[in-house]
């Protein structure tokens, strides 16, 4: 299972993050608030989502086996750092015009916890498979 589950989670995380990053750059037609221009600092936030989304997709599709599992650990650690940084400073030291809200913290926490959880179980399975 290990590699399959790791790939599945990395793909889901990557697709969601890339989608969120791209949506941040364009007016959302669903709500119809096309008149508001994006504040420049918000672009940083979108770039972070896009970048980490591409990273997750790279883990899903450009890596295999144990490397993929270990890379997911790195991804989880990255999101722990992001979660803590944004918790400490919701505007990321004044760079975001809109402070991070509970939903954003939830996204960061989910990405960190699930990544570390999937890594932990995939790693354990590696150990079991070698018994």
């Amino acid at each position: 299972m290990g590699s399959n589950t790791v790939k599945m989670w990395a793909t889901l995380a990557g697709v969601v993050l890339v989608a969120v990053g791209l949506l941040g750059f364009v007016p959302n037609p669903l709500v119809g608030s096309a008149q508001g221009a994006l504040v420049p600092t918000d672009a940083v936030h979108n770039i972070v989502h896009l970048g980490t989304g591409i990273l997750a997709l790279a883990i899903a599709f450009a890596m295999t086996g144990k490397t993929q599992v270990d890379a997911l650990l790195g991804f989880g650690i990255l999101y722990v750092v992001i979660l803590l940084a944004v918790l400490v400073s919701p505007t990321l030291f004044g760079l975001f015009s809109i402070p991070a809200n509970a939903v954003l913290h939830l996204i960061h926490a989910t990405l960190a916890i699930v990544s570390l959880g999937v890594w932990s179980m995939a790693r354990n399975q590696t150990t079991n498979a070698r018994i």
Partner: protein, 248 residues
């Protein structure tokens, strides 16, 4: 726009929560099945247990990890220096060119380390150069640069981030010089070193990229503030006046 962004974030949170929960559940069930199978019979065929075609030694793995993170740190710091260059040349004139020299040094150091990763003299040069840059920064933040009126500058996000990147860079170069990599490899298993270096590369390089992005955005935001305050005839934070009375 903000409402649209909130909506997309909420949708993303829901997808990640539900999807992540299901994937974790599946992973837990699979792990339990695999454990049971390992007890009652031969280990199942698993991609993870396949041997690698090439297996570099633990010391090689640590050195490769250190090299790539060092390159990332040096290029990250150079990029921030480059981004801050125009603003400082405008403010400080010739003194501001130091930012371009710092960027050039750090970029050349990265290229040289890539070509000669084992060179101890390059490591010493990297440590010396970056210590000097941190020293100049510390001087500007405590006593103020010579020839510049206005006293010490405040520590900001961009310069603070750059100094942190440089400290990490110095630490990694020192690790190489102190042969800590060899000592670490001797006391840890090859498997754990491989896991640590792979995860460390992903997390380390991503954090460097993220920090660099934040710092460049801060520099850019500072330039916008200065442009705006310049139009209004005001002085932005960090703006300097040279000894000849010229305000830049």
């Amino acid at each position: 726009m903000q409402a649209g962004h909130e909506l997309s974030l909420t949708a993303a949170a829901l997808v990640l929560l539900i999807g992540g929960g299901l994937i974790l559940l599946r992973a837990a069930l699979d792990t339990r099945n695999a454990t049971a199978q390992a007890v009652i019979g031969p280990a199942p065929t698993n991609v993870l247990s396949e041997p690698d075609v090439t297996t570099p030694s633990p010391v090689d793995l640590i050195q490769r990890f250190a090299l790539w993170v060092t390159l990332g740190l040096s290029i990250g710091a150079a990029t921030i220096h480059l981004a801050a260059g125009p603003e400082h040349v405008q403010e400080l004139g010739g003194l501001g060119l130091g930012f371009y020299w710092a960027a050039l040094f750090q970029l050349l150091l990265a290229v040289a380390l890539l070509r000669r990763p084992g060179s101890r003299s390059l490591a010493w040069l990297g440590i010396g150069g970056n210590v000097a840059l941190i020293g100049a920064w510390a001087w500007s933040r405590t006593m103020g640069l010579p020839g510049v009126v206005g006293g010490p500058e405040m520590i900001g996000v961009a310069d603070g981030t750059t100094v942190l990147l440089q400290i990490a860079l110095i630490a990694l170069l020192a690790v190489r010089l102190g042969r800590f990599d060899t000592r670490f490899a001797a006391t840890h298993s090859a498997a754990s070193i491989r896991s640590l270096t792979t995860a460390g590369l992903v997390a380390g390089l991503s954090i460097v990229a993220l920090s660099t992005t934040i710092a460049i955005a801060d520099v850019s935001a500072g330039q916008h503030v200065e442009d705006a305050s310049g139009d209004a005839g005001g002085h932005a934070p960090g703006q300097h006046t040279l000894d000849d009375g010229t305000t830049h």
